[in-house]
Symmetry: C2
């Protein structure tokens, strides 16, 4: 399952980048649940979730930077770029019947570091 799930997520991002929305929807369970804990948003159902992605504004492109898969879950870390701006997306995927059944998505934004109590914290 580890390899299978990994492949599903690789294909998912390839289909999104190529705007192949039928292939994309093919990977998604009819009762998929997509959640963004940072905004407390939720989208339920394959058609609605595919439409959300299909209509997402901008000439965006996803690059997969990390993919970690075990027998039950996959995590991807992607760069989501529109023109010169890019941000990081981290997605946790769960599966049912070999389809993506749950996605929990995080979009961590830059912030100013707090005061640190030790010396030797570098900035890059």
């Amino acid at each position: 399952m580890q390899t299978r799930y990994r492949q599903i997520v690789e294909t998912y991002w390839q289909a999104a980048n190529a705007r192949r929305w039928e292939d994309f929807a093919e990977l998604i369970h009819p009762e998929v649940c997509y959640e963004v804990p940072q905004t407390r948003e939720r989208i339920v159902g394959r058609e609605r979730y595919t439409e959300f992605n299909r209509t997402y504004p901008g000439d965006w492109r996803i690059e997969v930077e990390r993919l970690v898969a075990d027998d039950q879950q996959v995590v991807s870390k992607v760069s989501f770029a529109t023109g010169e701006h890019s941000c990081v997306g981290i997605s946790f995927f769960e599966f049912r019947d070999d389809k993506i059944y749950r996605i929990v998505d995080f979009w961590p934004e830059p912030y100013e570091p707090p005061v640190r109590l030790i010396h030797g914290v570098e900035r890059y």
Copy 2:
């Protein structure tokens, strides 16, 4: 390696919660590199990194909510709670010589959702 690395990360969070800093340091490679891409902070070296955690302010407690491990990497999603406030931490771990060699840490904060182009995005 999958099981071994998973155990290392489980033990890492247990040691942190218990403030057992010698056990914690035992899991860390002498040349560990810790990075927070959101602030572009970096800490290099086991002693400095252990000290960073040991002196981290607040009566914090970590609860591991997800752990995904493959043969090379582990990802943990934790809740980091101090009193009534809690936030989410997502950490990518890499290994060398059976020690934690690289940590890339994300702390995604809540934000207001943008306008969405589809109907049916719920809030929870």
